[in-house]
Symmetry: C2
Subunit: 110 residues, 2 copies
């Protein structure tokens, strides 16, 4: 009895844009409302989290993560509308890929 | 402009059965006719190659790699008919997965 597994990622002009780990950090930023809290929740250094977010934004067609520093409402890290759409699309495609591969496993009678 | 990439692997009862690296070692065994030559070609220790082959056979529904020690024709490592079919199926599914993901990228207008 075999099972088939997959890992997908999306690349932009300069390298990896989104993968499972990056989706996880974006979703944690949504939950926590700040990059430093998200990093702490994921047991990751702030520097590493910042580098990942920087790489996400650099490889995106439009900004994904926006950081407000200070202001009357205080600082905070936010995911753009475009970012939310990208998270949703990534997760849908990932799920569709799993379903496709399960069907392939049957089709090839493995 | 985004591209989407994937890595797939097949698991058996006890863990990974086939992935891209394992397919590569099986195909090199076919080319070289021996496990030690295949290991050398791939710049891998004999022990590591042997462990991979052992794990492939252990997780397969039927034997994939057979080693003949000595005999009038000398020793040698061979891939079974079932193994050849599995290599073919894996490569087809992998290619189909890439095509599927390219279509998904268009469908989601990324």
């Amino acid at each position: 009895m075999y099972t088939i597994k997959s890992r997908i990622w999306i690349e932009g002009e300069e390298g990896v844009f989104l993968g499972e780990g990056r989706i996880k950090i974006l979703k944690t930023i949504i939950d926590e409302g700040s990059l430093s809290k998200a990093a702490k929740t994921l047991g990751m250094s702030y520097k590493k989290a910042w580098n990942l977010v920087n790489s996400i934004n650099k490889n995106a067609a439009s900004p994904i993560v926006i950081t407000n520093t200070g202001g009357s409402g205080g600082g905070g890290t936010f995911i753009t509308e475009y970012g939310l759409e990208m998270i949703h699309s990534f997760e849908k495609i990932n799920k569709n890929c799993w379903d496709f591969l399960d069907k392939q496993l049957k089709e090839y009678q493995l």
